[in-house]
Symmetry: C2
Subunit: 280 residues, 2 copies
C-alpha cells in the first residue's frame, strides 16, 4: 500500500510513523513545500521518499492531507482531480464545514473521507511527530454518508490499526462542538500568555512563581500560529460565539469579585466544579 | 519537635507527611473544625493526635496555618496571643498582604513567618495530601525582615529538609505577581468550565471530543471554592486588574477573528508563543 502524506508535520508525521509501526509493506511518499521539513521527515523515517504533489497523488492508494485547514480547503478539489479511481483521500483538519463544502462540489466526492483526530500537542514540525500520538485517540468522521463504502472502510481500518475509537457526526455539528471544547481553549491560552507576558517583563518572576496551574492553563499558547490562524477563520462564527460567552463569564466573575460577593463567587466556582463529572 | 497543623487538607496534610517522611521524632498535632477530616487525617497518618486549637497552639514548637486565607487572616492574631515564646507561627496562604497586615499589628509579629509554597493540585482534603507535594517546589517567604532570626531559621530548615528553593519578597509584590501567574489562571479555568458546560448539555459530546488541550486548560476548574473565594476577595485589586487585561486581550482576539484578519491573529499568537522562552 502506498500512502502519500501531504504535510510532514506533527499529525502527518505521527500518522505515517504510527501506521509503519503497526503494519509491514507500507510505503510512505512525503510531500512538503518546506524542503527542510521534507529532508527531516526522510531522515526521521517518516517518509520513504519525497515527491512533488501531483506525482505523489497519482501514485497513491491513500492520500492524506495533513496541512493547515486553509491549505486543505484549497487542495481538496485539485487532489480529487488527480487521485486514481481506486484511491482514497483523507484529511486531518481541525475544522470540517468549509473543507467538506469544497469536497461536496467535486464529482469524486465519494473518494474523500473527512476526519479529525482528537490528538495533538503544542509542538509542530516533523521532529514533534511520534508513532503513538494517535493511539487510543478519538477519530471523528464527518458526513460518512457522502463517502463510498470502500473509502470509508480504508479509513476505518487504519483507525482500527491505531486503536482509535470512531465517532461519526455531520461537519456542521463538528465545528460547533470543537469551537467549545478545543478552539476556545487555545484562544484562552494564547490570551493568557499575552496578558502575563505584557505585565511581567521580569521573566525571573514568572518562572519562579508560576506553579503547575499556570503551566497547564498556558501550555497551548505555544501552539502554531500557522495552524491555528486558518482554524479560527474557518470556524469564525462558532469561535466568535464561544469567545463571546467566555468573555461574558469572565466579566461576570470580575463584577462579583469587584463587589466582594464571595457567596456568588463560590456559587460560580461550584458550577464550574461540575466539570469533574466529565473529566473525572 | 511538636508541630501543630491547623487545617488538615491538601497543603497542611502534605507538609505534615513530607516532614514526617524526612525526619524522625516529629509529633504532629492536628486541628480541623471538620471532625470527619480530622478523623481521616489521623487514619492517614497525617496527624498523631487531634486537639482543639488553643491546646494545640500552646503545646507547639511550630504552628502551621493551612486553612483558607480569610481564616488565616482571622487566626493570626489569636494564635500569636497563645503561642509559646520560643515557638514559630507559619502560614501557607496564597495571598500575603492582608495576612501580614494582621500580623504586623501584633506584639509577637517576630514569631510569625509569612510563606506561600508554589505547590498544589486541583484536589482538596486530607485524602488529596501526599508527602512529595512540596518537594522541589519554590517557597516564597514574605517580609522576612519582620521575622526573628530564630523563627526564620526554623522555617528555612524545614524548606531545606523538603528541598524547597527559597524566594524572598515583600507581601505587596507577592500578591501582585500571584494575581497574574496563579489567580488569573484559576479564573480563566473556572470561566472556561462554565462556558462549555452551559453550551454542551449533552456530556457525551464533551467527553468524546475534548482532547488533552481542553483538559489542560480546564483542569483548575475543579479547584475548591472554599479556598479560592477568599483568595479572590483578599487580592481583589490585583485580580480585578489582571482579569480586566485578560478580558481586553480576549476581546481583541475576538475582534480580529470577526474581521478575519488572519495576519493580525497570527501576530497575536506569535506574541503568545514567547511563553516558550519561559516555560521551555
Amino acid at each position: 500500500m502506498i500512502i502519500s502524506v501531504i504535510g510532514l508535520g506533527l499529525l502527518g508525521g505521527s500518522l505515517a510513523l504510527g501506521i509503519k509501526a503497526k503494519r509491514a509493506g507500507i510505503q510512505i511518499i512525503g510531500v512538503d513545500n518546506n524542503a527542510v521539513n521534507a529532508e527531516k521527515a526522510l531522515s526521521l523515517g517518516i517518509a520513504d521518499k519525497i515527491l512533488p504533489l501531483g506525482e505523489a497523488v497519482k501514485a497513491a492508494d491513500l492520500v492524506v492531507l495533513a496541512i493547515p485547514v486553509n491549505a486543505i480547503a484549497a487542495l481538496v478539489a485539485p487532489v480529487l482531480d488527480l487521485i486514481p479511481p481506486h484511491a482514497t483521500l483523507l484529511d486531518l483538519g481541525s475544522t470540517k464545514e468549509q473543507i467538506c463544502k469544497e469536497a461536496d462540489k467535486h464529482p469524486n466526492r465519494a473518494q474523500f473521507v473527512a476526519t479529525h483526530p482528537i490528538a495533538g500537542t503544542e509542538y509542530s514540525g516533523p521532529e514533534a511527530a511520534f508513532a503513538a500520538l494517535l493511539e487510543h485517540k478519538t477519530m471523528i468522521i464527518c458526513d460518512r454518508e457522502k463517502s463510498s463504502a470502500t473509502s470509508l472502510r480504508v479509513v476505518e481500518e487504519i483507525c482500527h490499526l491505531l486503536d482509535m475509537p470512531l465517532r461519526y457526526m455531520d461537519a456542521i455539528s463538528h465545528d460547533l462542538h470543537l469551537a467549545y471544547v478545543s478552539h476556545l481553549s487555545h484562544i484562552s491560552s494564547f490570551a493568557l500568555g499575552i496578558t502575563v507576558l505584557d505585565k511581567e517583563r521580569d521573566e525571573k518572576n514568572i518562572f519562579d512563581m508560576a506553579g503547575s496551574g499556570f503551566s497547564s492553563t498556558v501550555r497551548l499558547a505555544k501552539s502554531s500560529p500557522q495552524m491555528w490562524g486558518p482554524i479560527f477563520t474557518q470556524n469564525k462564527k462558532n469561535v466568535s460565539e464561544a469567545l463571546g460567552s467566555y468573555i461574558k463569564q469572565l466579566q461576570a466573575f470580575k463584577d462579583i469579585i469587584d463587589a466582594e460577593d464571595e457567596e456568588q463567587s463560590k456559587q460560580l466556582m461550584l458550577k464550574a466544579n461540575d466539570i469533574r463529572r466529565i473529566l473525572g
